[in-house]
Subunit: 343 residues, 2 copies
């Protein structure tokens, strides 16, 4: 992938205050536009020394009918649901998909982008790795006008369409539910603090506390690196506290299930002694005992929406202007947070 | 992908009774071979009108450093473990992987093969869909000398290397364990009868029964299409039987977990009233209550072995002659099959 600045349609659009699709249509001499608009755009393109991107053009004209997908990990139920949604949608519209996983590694993610671009996919759907903090590889895709959108793990740095779920609201829902059930001292078991979801779910947790008159200084946040050892340590330490929590909101279901096992091993009854809730709605959460209260994320629907939007852009059914879609989460109340007569 | 018969190195090898790699080395004029062996092979190649496969050659020479992987489904823990093993191995050896899923569809599998071949992968690792009963798409890969191997869901029809697990032995282990624990009337809950794993695991089930003096006519096989409705129906019907089983071996863990829920809903105690075991060792099986006895399949190791073998073939560290690797399974005994004092 070569570097070196090339003027893009996006820059022309910005200069003239029109949309990218208007520029695109003008440069293709589309009959839908007024002649003077077209002239204005073509003149600007010439003055900026715009070179019609042959690669992008050939991609658009001779399509491979393949979309590339990059996800952080395939063992996660959430990402494999995303992929099912993407694949079913793509297949209905005559496309196949090729999937790469970054294994949460920035280097692997960059290699994945190179691999899929070399394979001449028509467009990409990307969910970022945990390590990804710089975005040159995405900026390059953008500059080369290779169509892509981001989902779930996204960055605001690159102006392409994004599909996310409302993490803060989901956390708010579950903590609000715990408070409504009569639990008063609610702990938040959080992953590493720099993770986007750690922050967003903390926002929702604090918001719900505030609504019930509990100030942030009375919040109870426990941080784990999500290894089994540390999950065990924070749980056992918490059990030793004099004024210990009566409920735990764990940031993700796999953490909640591990905490459940540790509590049960230590003779703690759920929810009688301590209530417990998670976030993700993994299949496992429905079959543990007690069944786990959690937040359902529409992973399949997210994949569908992302694929449909990208294909709509490729088919020029919608403009290339970036849009952000936020999908709502829903509370799944189960036995692990049931109000008990005593509390 | 064009059709039409082309003489292959494999045919030359067969005609002369030498290995494919010997033919390959002779045609490359390798100094490792005796001059007369080389002459004999080159003469035969000429007489058979062999055309050195330019595509295969260019694939070998200018490598994309990408392997293609086709799996039936990504939501399965087993296949995502395979992929992790493949990816870690490939990455260590400087390769990236692109994954396609067939969704258990024959048509989708054929599309996946086309997509990955068009993307010029250096080789493929393929696990067949449930629907795949004819193999022209694989025969074509073979005829075009595009390197590939099969894993887990394989066919004997195509002479390439294969990596599988010993399904029959795993089933034997778990049923043997149930019999040893003192259970006498053991049911086998099987998926559709034409599935390879349904048959193989039945073999192991029958073998263990036989060892304990129970003839096949006293075996208790229940067939389900693996939908929740049918799983429920066979379980409830079984509970109504006068002489009902005292233990169930379910063909796969997800089926076992569903059966566990149904039994518990109906007040059946596990293992006191009916013992229960599965096969796969999914993470869920460790956290249900009671924890589920199962058979562990080395999914990650299988992926590692498959990737290493394919890359060894590409690097000519091993011959192209097909090999079959069978990995052993191990019993994971947990609470769902614990001997109880009464039985």
């Amino acid at each position: 992938m070569k570097k070196g600045h090339q003027v893009t349609m996006k820059e022309i659009a910005k200069k003239l205050g029109v949309s990218v699709s208007t520029v695109s249509r003008a440069l293709k001499d589309s009959p839908e536009l007024h002649a003077d608009t077209k002239t204005r755009i073509v003149e600007m393109a010439k003055s900026m020394n715009y070179q019609y991107n042959l690669l992008a053009q050939s991609l658009r004209i001779s399509r491979s009918k393949v979309l590339g997908v990059i996800v952080p990990e395939l063992t996660s139920h959430f990402f494999s649901s995303n992929i099912s949604g993407i694949q079913d949608t793509a297949y209905k519209r005559g496309y196949n998909i090729m999937i790469c996983q970054s294994n949460e590694s920035f280097e692997q993610e960059k290699a994945n982008v190179r691999t899929l671009v070399s394979s001449q996919v028509d467009g990409l759907l990307i969910s970022l790795s945990r390590e990804t903090k710089s975005y040159e590889h995405l900026q390059e895709l953008y500059d080369r006008e290779i169509p892509f959108i981001m989902f779930d793990r996204v960055t605001e740095e690159i102006p392409v369409s994004k599909v996310t779920v409302d993490d803060a609201h989901g956390a708010y829902l579950v903590v609000h539910h715990l408070l409504e059930q009569g639990f008063k001292k609610i702990a938040y078991f959080s992953g590493p603090e720099d993770l986007y979801i750690s922050k967003k779910r903390k926002e929702g947790y604090l918001e719900a506390l505030k609504e019930f008159g509990i100030p942030e200084k009375e919040s109870r946040v426990y941080i784990t690196d999500l290894t089994f050892e540390m999950n065990r340590k924070i749980t056992l330490d918490m059990l030793q506290e004099q004024d210990r929590p009566d409920a735990i909101f764990a940031m993700i279901d796999p953490l909640a299930v591990e905490v459940m096992m540790i509590l049960k091993e230590n003779g703690v009854r759920i929810p009688e002694d301590i209530a417990l809730a998670g976030f993700t709605n993994n299949p496992t959460s429905a079959v543990v005992e007690p069944s786990l209260t959690t937040v359902s994320q529409p992973g399949y629907e997210m994949g569908q929406l992302a694929a449909n939007h990208l294909l709509d852009q490729l088919d020029e059914l919608v403009s290339d202007d970036p849009q952000t879609f936020v999908l709502l989460t829903t509370l799944v109340a189960r036995n692990s947070t049931k109000k008990t007569p005593k509390s």
